[in-house]
Amino acid sequence: MSRSYPLRELYLARIREFYRQPARIFWVYGFPTILAIGLGLAFRSRPPESIQVDLVRNSASDPVEDVLRAYDHLAREESRPGLLLNVAPADEVFHRLRTGKTPLVVDPEISRPLTYHYDPTRPEAVAARGAIDDIIQAAHGRKDPVATQDVKVVEPGSRYIDFLIPGLIGLNTMGGGLWGIGFLLVNFRIAKLLKRFVATPMPRRDFLLALLGARLTFLIPDLAVLLLLGTLVFGMPIRGDLLLVFAIDVVGALAFAGIGLLIASRAQTTETVSGLMNLVMLPMWLLSGVFFSSERFPRAVQPLIQALPLTQVVGGLRRVILEGAGWLDVAPAMAILAAWAVVTFYVALRIFRWS
């Protein structure tokens, strides 16, 4: 038999184990694809919607209704957003307001000023109130003293799906490191395979290198599937260097591999490792800006959020893919990721138990 090398055999064993498990292939490739398509459709850019407004039917409502109907007619002819007008008795429209079915109720009374009822904390209610007030004021002769014009931006790169794809790439990289290294190692320990391996002259370094090598190999299809989905299906632009996209993903994968190794270094049961994985992943799912920008969180927690590896992977990928950032621009993100990788590997290798 030709001399075979432990590193190569260990690496091949890992690759075989992966592609022979259809369920894993679904969770790594199918699931993010479905998530991207689902969320991409749910949050796709739609034509601007009509302004929804309810009007109380009473003795004073007819003139107001005429004004609004006239505006709606004109707007539709000019293909601008029109109105979604509902005229009904007071009981009914106020019930609709309370239950959130309409954002704005206009209540005209002869003896009192025209009254708007709305919840000022709802952005669409405030917008509707402003728009309806403008229509009514203009119909009664108000002239705008300053001329203005609108330029509308619906460019690829600024849509939700463009924001989402780099987030999903980061999520997949995190999952791959934690499941593919952490969970796997604990299962090997439970099956006494780790102990069986160290009972042979196998170089332990080769075992870990094969694990990492397989992890980085799977990164290529992981990344390709989501990038192709983004560019081919959703027309997402890639404005930066593709090599840099890959480099960020690799450094990120090493950071998560280190965390996976650390989690697995002592855990003796699947329950322990599952708990630890949730402990690590949940904050990053929530805080790292995968689905929604992390800038909405309070200023006080921003340093913590910025220190999380997933924040840096996702942020770095977005800057390169969507903004065309260069190597120097994302160097800080890569430095933070590299620090995670170095520290976690160092600690994990010191405390790792083979049995």
């Binding site: 055999e9 064993a13 099956a191 006494k192 395979l193 102990k195 009972a199 042979t200 003796q268 138990r353």
Partner: protein, 334 residues
């Protein structure tokens, strides 16, 4: 290299326990010459696995000297690893690898060794070379574990309870593999709690109980030390209270008498003299027999006579090696 495959002096291993330290191994001396098949016998929790794991370099002794193939673990780990083969209790190999791939993987760890196909032939798994591990029966998985232990062509083979939980046919197939290894002049150390297995396979056995060797010798020697060659087992019928075992000790050629289950067991030198005397005795007492059997003395009887307990009495489990006091046992598939 020394003359011994294994040499152990005053080996001790202590685990921290909830109620103070637990002595898993408390002072074992052992010498196993090259070419011998050596058995470590004892009930669960006796310290067998701890002892072999120390010999295999997978566990560190608290104190004592261990020499394997004339080398010491702390100085020559790599050299020892190249020349020993190990099966652990219940290793589960990855399900989606084929038998051949697993053997090939382990072959790659050794500088010298056997061809994967040759090893599979030795354990009669050549027909399963391309089957996934998950498709193997329990006996086939255990033979795969042995194949993986043999692939480095070891001088010294450790087998930790290789046949526990296997059906009789699978056990016999494994015995053939072990005999074959011994036939090549190689050394084998095996632990078991099946006394018949030790009697058939081992040149010498050490009986371990509570971390100590309580008897050491060839199976025939140990049996001979009981004095008698036969065991007469009987049970009495009727309502009368059971007599004490010692009331049978005075019968001709009876060397020992003990209560055994619902009846009695007598260690007997000459059954043809003892049994008629026993029948007369029972007649005189007005008792009648419910059952009477005779058989050859076995290592099981040796263990019972030494400890007063049976081997497979439910003893507390061996303490877990991480000292957490938990022991995980998983059923083997198939």
């Amino acid at each position: 290299m020394g003359d011994w495959a294994i040499r152990v002096k005053d080996l001790r291993k202590q685990y921290p326990g909830r109620d103070g330290p637990v002595d898993a191994v408390s002072g074992i001396d052992l010498e196993v010459p090259f070419g011998e098949c050596f058995g470590l016998l004892g009930p669960n929790g006796a310290g067998k696995t701890t002892t072999v794991e120390i010999l295999e370099g997978l566990n560190q002794p608290t104190s004592g000297e261990v020499e394997v193939l004339g080398l010491r673990w702390q100085d020559d780990e790599a050299a020892i690893r190249e020349r020993i083969g190990v099966t652990l209790q219940e290793t589960r190999f990855p399900e989606k690898q084929t038998v051949y791939e697993m053997v090939r993987l382990f072959r790659s760890f050794y500088r010298d060794g056997l061809e994967p196909h040759e090893v599979l032939e030795r354990v009669s798994l050549e027909g399963k070379a391309n089957a996934y591990v998950e498709q193997l029966s329990g006996g086939q998985q255990q033979r795969l574990a042995v194949a993986v232990a043999l692939v480095g062509d070891p001088v010294l083979l450790f087998l930790d309870e290789p046949t526990t939980g296997l059906d009789p046919q699978s056990r016999r197939q494994l015995w053939d593999v072990i005999r074959d290894h011994r036939g090549r002049g190689r050394t084998t150390v095996l632990t078991t709690h099946y006394m018949d297995e030790a009697e058939r396979l081992c040149d010498r056995v050490a009986i371990i109980d509570r971390g100590k060797i309580i008897a050491l010798g060839s199976p025939a020697d140990l049996i001979a030390r009981l004095g008698g060659e036969h065991i007469v087992e009987f049970a009495l019928g009727g309502e009368a209270p059971a007599p004490v075992p010692s009331s049978f000790a005075g019968l001709p050629t009876v060397l020992a008498a003990r209560a055994e289950g619902d009846g009695f067991a007598l260690t007997v030198g000459e059954p043809h003299r003892a049994i008629p005397a026993l029948l007369d005795h029972l007649d005189d007492e007005g008792r009648h027999l419910a059952r009477l059997t005779t058989r050859q003395v076995s290592l099981e009887d040796v263990f019972v006579s030494l400890t007063g307990r049976h081997l497979r009495d439910n003893e507390p489990e061996e303490p877990a090696r991480d000292g957490s006091g938990r022991k995980r046992r998983r059923g083997r598939r198939g």
